[in-house]
Amino acid sequence: MKFEYHCKLTLPLARQRKGVLPKTLLAMKLAIVLLFISALHANGKVTAQQTVTFSGRSVSLQTVFSAIKKQTNFTFFYRKDDLKDARPVTVELKNANLQTALDAALKDQPLDFKIQGRTIFITRKPVTKPAPEKAEVSQFVPIKGIVRDSTGTPLAGASVNIKGSSKGTTTNSAGQFTIDANPGDVLVISYVGLETREIKITGTDVIEIAMRALQSDLSDIVIIGYGRQSQATVSTAVSRVDGRKIGMQPVATPGEALAGLAAGVQVQSNQGAKPGEAPVIRVRGVGSLSSSTEPLYVVDGYPLQTSEAFSIINPSDIESINVLKDAAASAIYGSRAANGVVIVTTKRGHRGKTEFTASGYYGLQTVNKYIDLLNRDQYLGYSKTQSRIRGVPYPAVFDRAPDSLPDVDWQREIFRTAPLYSMNIGATGGSENMRYNASFGYYNQKGVLIGTEFTRINSRFNMDADLSSKLKFGVSISPSYTDQYKQGTSGQFNTVAPVDQLTGVPGLVANRNVPSPLNSAMMLAPIIPVYKDNGDFAQPYDRALGYTTSATSVFFQSNLINPVSILTQVVNRSRAFRTLGNAFLEYSILDGLKLRTFFGATLENERNNASIPATATTDQSPTASFSNPLLNGIFASENVRNSFDWVWENTATYDKSFGEHHLNLLALYSAQRFTSTINYTGALAGTYVTTSVQNPLASPSRVGTVGYDDNAFVSVAGRITYDFKRKYLLTAAIRRDGSSRFGPENKYAVFPSFSAGWRLNEEPWIAGLLQKASINEFKIRGGYGETGNANIGSFTYLNSMNITSNYAFGNNRQFGATPTGFPNYLLTWEKNSQTSVGVDLGFMENRITFSVDYFRRISDGMLLSKDLPAIVGYATRYQSNLGKLRNNGFEFSLGTDFNLGEVRWNANLNLSSYRTKVLDLGGPASLAPSGSVFGWNNSYQVKVGDPLSLIYGYTVIGVFKNDQDLANHPQTTAGNKVGDWIVKDLNNDKKIDVNDMGVLGNGLPDYIYGFTNSFQYKSFDLSILIQGVAGVNIINGNMRQLIGGQHQNSITSYLNNFFDPETPNRDVKYPRPNSTSAVNPQNALVQYHVENGSYLRFRNITLGYRVPQVVLKRIALRSVRFYITAQNPFLITKYTGYNPEASVSTSPTNAGTDQGTYPAARTVGVGVNIGF
């Protein structure tokens, strides 16, 4: 059906004629009628030349139709529901013309027909209210009811009919209706785009009817780039996620809620529950080795420059998210679409009385997994054994009664049960010519790790106005404020990962590294107290604790620092104010031709401040404490980024049907410009003179610098979408982009795409067969497209002068300048080309839908750094478009929608998979290998012919128990001793070296899946979201210190599982604690620490209850729903760390390393939604 296209176009007309048409008539229905009228106009007269001969008694209407079809080659077009009420017919036709035949067949039927081209459209006759028949009045009972959509919003204009009778009415603006009916009658309620419902009248109570959207129905609209299209005629791969599934989850960012909801969209919250942290989102695999693999986010038509502006959207403001997955769909966004496009639409206003909504929830988050570390008594025993094997003394206090020593569970000292709450209020409504939606939201989440917190305040105002019948205007503005307190977590106990460092002043004050509190908490011995008696934080190396072995030495190592001291004192805070605003003006010049101009702007002001006070103990001030503040340990910085981005887009669309040909044309001009400035202020290390303020002003030697960013895009694009009889579908698009980011000799590029689809269910020759198999939808589609990845940084092609190469002549500093970098004026986009094919199937009137997609994606000209001979001097490498990468994958999704008695059950299962393969690295066969965690080198290697993120390490086959073993097995180049690991000699060269590192696993999953279930029973609703990955490994980097770390805490499974010279013949997994072999737990990754990272996670379970209408009436509310919700309630995994999603690095070449990463929290909460 085409009315989706036309409703907008014809609405102005509807208003003009509202005086003459019944007010209650649905605009949508009108649109259908108008469509037919226009179709007739376009087609001229009915040309029913053929004749029909048929005779039958009490045959079904369908039988007649198929006979007519056979004899005339005309096809019929009708809604199946419409024929339900048709009576059997008795006709006798001989050489009757088509008109006569149809008249006869439809005589006294509640149906009408229209002939257009070679298609006969069967429609319901317009409902006419019969004049009240007085005689029967007494029998009828006035039945009152209210019709709502699935969100509880009353539906205006829904048709309410009594089954088997011609009686009917429509609902008013409050969704209410009154109809006279007999008890036992069946009410049929229908609404365009929603599933028709039948309700038997049993009493006189107010009937409440909840309408559901048709799952994957013909009428489902998907948002494509610069337009919308009915799902049926889409020939590309687009996934649609309903905003309700996003808004219902108690999460900070919409990205987190996307996990598991769309096939081919991987969401990895590698920082777990770090409040406010956006997850990594990848669409259809990995498109780049070195540039961003983030999709392009388009919010209400605005292509965003950064994903942050997406992450700060209030999830409850989202109407829908559509993901353009294949290049044929996304190529209309050209040079920025290589990683897919995520199109977000926010809720807009409806005509009608203002409706208010208020909602809120409160939840408590807890860490759902603790690592099984040693307690005090276990630790003391273990430590003594270790000391004996190492031949070092242990502190005398270890031999005292254990009760005299502290027993601290450090994990519980750094984690807490943290509250999270959210409140939203909204209003929507509008007059005939103006509609609006306004909302305000407040979200606050304290992290489960102390010292972390996130607050978000959003408001949004969307308005649409019909300035005249042909001129539309819309405006959207959404200011937001976020406040995030971060703590470094990823990384080793003494150094967090670079992303978690405190930002200094580039070139002047180095970024400050802080110890990783998570890793430290696992390593700290339980006998170290949190506080000293004087209130200072205890540090393990503080001699005052008594853990000493001589007059000068301390038992514990000196750079392991009390994590509570870090978490409570180090501040790394980011506050941002962002406003995203846009406005459009749309003018319908002619029927079907619309011009639209769109202007949007984003203003961002982000302020980061970081401080380490004089009392905080860090590696640079190991003796600082409350009682001993040290000025030289102070760090303070304040960085402010201001950025402004604007986009101006002008589109012309022409949408028209010519007979059975439907055509949609799009032309686009677009220009976008981004500018950004960062001001950094800090003070030189060691120059702080006061503790009274914690900002750079505490030093007289303040320094600052400024950073700029700037880019511009200019584009022209065109697209043609065509379908014939909604059967043969074609789309072709082309975009030409120019960007300031590329070298002057390669500034412009063209991105073409095309796709085609074939709906077999519309083919007469097979439709019958499909019908027998209950298949109502059978679409084959495929396409090819080229897209670009422009995320290569600004001005990468240029080389520039570095003006900090100074020199002091005598003692007079002079400022010098040296060139840096090697220019590449040919630098350009990373190009993606993708071929995608898919099949969509619908069974039993789309109660079951099924889609399968296969894609093959080639990323070519990936930006890699190419080595130059060092004799060039001022540069040793330069950025060039070199590498080639392939992603192959499939996606599969299955949707069901059934009524099981009174229970309505909706389910969606999706599963996808992709495989990466490096095809070319521009010459070299591999890139330099990189480590996973400090000490474990060469864990990841990018090689031509291999997938990305293969994990390399050694395979241990035992422990050298005696000299015999030493003689029998190859040793490392530096030799081995009894108690060392025996390592598998992979290349059989009789020695163990780096060449014996083999593939131990894969950091990217083989499969990702999601399974969502929702149930509705009377006033109750229940939804369960399950999501998981399979076929993935994770490097448990925490084990580097926990296994055999000197004097550190350990895990219980390590106890009595290491080589002890006293019991050399015992079978053990781990080597002697003081193994100095080149392959020991501290300096090599072995298979034991590459764990199975597959998991199945219950993302969300929500149980809701809608308060019945009778109660609502009493309290004068429109709707009230209470719910309890649990985010991440269960996790099924074999991984022994906190979070199997953890990844220290977001790079696709180094996926799957966990070291001190923030755990995923379990949230349990209650909430309420109120409408009034």
């Binding site: 001129l471 003018y587 010049i589 011009l595 101006w648 002008n650 012309a652 001009y669 677009s670 220009a671 410009r673 290390a685 060691g686 030697s701 400024v706 700029y708 960013d709 700037d710 880019n711 511009a712 895009f713 200019v714 584009s715 022209v716 120019g738 960007s739 300031s740 002057p744 500034k747 001005f795 240029l798 080389n799 520039s800 002068m801 003006i803 190469s805 100074n806 020199y807 002091a808 002549f809 005598g810 007079n812 500093r813 002079q814 400022f815 010098g816 300048a817 040296t818 060139p819 090697f822 220019p823 130059l868 001979p869 060092a870 004799i871 060039v872 001097g873 001022y874 040793t876 330069y878």
Partner: protein, 476 residues
Amino acid sequence: MKKLLFIRYIILFFVISANFSCSKDFVNLTPEGLIPVDGYYHDELSIKNALTGMYGSLRTIYNNHWAYSELPSDNTMTYPSSEAFWGEMDKYTWVSTSTRIQEAWSRHYTTISLSNIILDRIDPVPMQQTNKDRYIAEAKFVRALMYFNLVRMFGDVPLVLNEITTEAQAYSYNREPIARVYAQIEKDLTEAAAVLPTSYTSADFGRPTQNAAKGLLGKVYMFQKKFTEAETILAQVVAAAPSPLVPFDKIFGPGNDNNGDILFSVQYITGGFGEGNIFAREFVPQPSGTTIIGVSGSSYNVGGVDLYDAFEPGDARKPISIDIFMDGSLPYYYTRKFLYPTVPAGNEGDNDWPVLRFGDVILLYAEALNENHKTNEALVQLNRIRTRAGLPDKTGLSEQDARTAIYNERRVELCFEGERWFDLVRWNIFIPTMQAFKTKYNVTGMGNIEERLKVFPIPSRERALNPNLTQNTGYE
């Protein structure tokens, strides 16, 4: 009518936007945060800045120069606990894939490129001709110094004399014979010496003087055994030496930068700019903590007992040059020449690195004279140095004995200053000396002393990129 007007507006609007979109300037942005290289070298100030930048690049090279010139000798060693950093230079285990070898190569070529850029681009820049000539001479001096280091470290090396602007150019250079490289060094130094001033005011201390160029040229001759040419030019330089010589305790250490003994040195400054030296810390034994300097040492380049014992009794240079730190009963011989006791951070040493000084030049002159069979004149020069060291004159030696005396004198006079390995190789006594050393001290982990160790291997990265580069004998 009104409607028609509106349509016109809309059409106009689209036409404007079309023009806008096609405008080339819209995507040709000038970077605000970058100073593009093209167009930078346009006035005297920018050339001066470029020269300063070139000098600035010397800091990194000379921060580690000791590692390439002292460690592979009998003078110094890396303490075992620090061997991961520089052990390969001490133990002769360097390989062509070594980062250290690559760094030595890359850093010298970086400075060469900075000087080439100036030489290539200065011509059209308007300025006084005398200034222009001086800037050219400075760039040539530095380029010559870099090639002098390179040729001594690697033997045949690519001779790059122009800025490389395209990738193809980078592959057009092959290794040139040592003689060709030396010829270019001589040419650059001769041309520089003709122009460079005889002295500078304090604001320009650190730039090469005429005598620095001549002295370096003399040294270059000595490395080629061109003793006649060396004698001639070194005589001119030595004539300019202060008389008496600057006392030995006034040459090194804080407060003594740019003293009268210095002909050319690399300038370091403290003050939190990151422009101080790191060697102040690296020569100090780790176990000493902060008892010797303000930060704990690194033990990368501590002296050896052999050097300690090489000083004659009563040598005034000994307490200034070398000292012992006792860690329990374990002695650490460490250099005092480069001590900066109050160094506030590991990379904040203020003292300069002497590249060429009169102590060196006078001994080279003595050596040249002796090699030219003027032993008595040679001894006069030798004794100037010995006198300063508080040692008795050497008289009446044979040419061979004088040679030995000069060799020994160079060792103690210039210890830790980055001369020893080059001298051993130059004098052709590297193999016997180090073999004897290895045997005498029973050094564990030291590689076989072989002919190939007289030069470093060509870095494997460079050969992988440009297969035309040959490898030095013994490293294939």
